[in-house]
């Protein structure tokens, strides 16, 4: 769909708000990876993340006429909804796991991050091995840090968002974001660099 490529998210959204199915579909294509990544990071589960993506876009669709680009850009709005859905899902996973298995943790054998050899093209074999080990440690460490710290870190590192944008998504002040990221980093350091 080359004609859509030149349009900004907001321009596409405007057409979607007028009822264009094709434009809404473009939003789904553009933002599914972002919504999925955040949901996957928060819930630690591939299947739950897929459910969150479905629910998030259904909500976006239902509330399309309420969205105003003056309040937030589309990505911020979409990720705010995705985060809320993910938190609800996370709470529900924990409640159900507790009911069913006692105090047992959820098991999800799939790694949250996998190794990307392209990112280490120029590295030697030893470095690649140590990077692989570090990804494994990172997965484990991320599971152990509180949701708010993890979300702030993921939005920064995966989505490259500013503290200001993260603050909007999380409904907190910019200084809280600073603090969440700082504490998240310190916790990751403790867990990974023992």
């Amino acid at each position: 769909m080359p004609r859509f490529e030149q349009l900004t998210d907001e321009q596409i959204l405007e057409e979607a708000q007028k009822g264009s199915e094709a434009h809404f579909d473009v939003l789904v294509e553009r933002f599914t990876p972002h919504v999925y990544r955040l949901a996957r990071g928060i819930t630690n589960s591939h299947s739950e993340a897929e459910d969150v993506v479905q629910e998030t876009f259904l909500r976006i669709f239902k509330n399309l006429d309420r969205y105003s680009s003056e309040k937030a850009n589309f990505k911020t709005w979409a990720l705010t909804i995705a985060r809320n859905q993910s938190i609800n899902t996370l709470a529900s996973i924990k409640r159900k796991a507790l009911q069913f298995f006692g105090d047992r943790d959820e098991d999800d054998p799939e790694p949250e991050f996998s190794f990307n050899p392209m990112s280490a093209e120029s590295q030697d074999a030893e470095t690649i091995l140590s990077l692989k080990q570090r990804f494994g440690m990172l997965n484990q460490a991320l599971k152990q840090i509180p949701e708010r710290q993890k979300t702030a870190l993921l939005l920064k590192s995966q989505e490259n968002m500013s503290y200001d944008e993260i603050a909007k998504i999380m409904g907190v002040s910019v200084s809280s974001v600073e603090s969440l990221i700082f504490r998240g980093r310190k916790k990751l350091l403790e867990l990974m660099e023992k």
């Binding site: 599914t32 990544r37 993340a49 897929e50 993506v53 479905q54 009911q99 943790d105 996998s114 990974m192």
Partner: protein
């Protein structure tokens, strides 16, 4: 200024959120403080690991599945439950059977056992998400505790 404050600034520096006028003092401090230098080095290494990790990508079919569901919604024929609900039916059936068994042993009827909750709510609480088939439950039980 305490090292903790400098380390907060280092965190902001990594995120490109530290205003320029703080940098000189921070770099001066880094030259003389091994603890903060080490923090900077380790924090940057973790950031590199986060960035180098392949950004997880969803299944390519996911966006199509979302679009299909919205299209159904436009036509007013979308089911209330997400598609995943239907994959869980085998487990619902199992739990219902177990519930009947437990109900009988305890000498209670199902209605008594689930008095204040609709059967659907009760079953929802009993079934962890992500478990879709009977083998998932027994597979999990047989494996015992998984390493964290």
């Amino acid at each position: 200024m305490k090292c903790k404050e400098f380390q907060k600034q280092i965190s902001k520096l990594i995120d490109k959120e530290l205003p320029g006028n703080y940098r000189d003092a921070l770099f001066d401090h880094l030259q003389s403080c091994s603890e903060c230098s080490r923090f900077y080095e380790r924090a940057e290494r973790i950031e590199m690991t986060l960035n180098a990790a392949l950004r997880v990508a969803p299944d390519t079919a996911l966006a199509q599945s979302v679009k299909d569901r919205i299209a159904q919604k436009r036509k007013g024929i979308v089911p209330e439950h997400s598609p995943v609900f239907w994959k869980r039916v085998p487990v619902y059936a199992l739990v219902a059977l177990l519930a009947v068994g437990v109900g009988n042993i305890a000498g209670k009827t199902l209605t008594q056992a689930f008095l204040d909750q609709s059967p659907e709510t009760t079953l929802e609480l009993l079934i962890p998400n992500g478990i879709e088939y009977v083998s998932d439950i027994f597979g999990d039980m047989n494996q015992g505790d998984q390493p964290k």
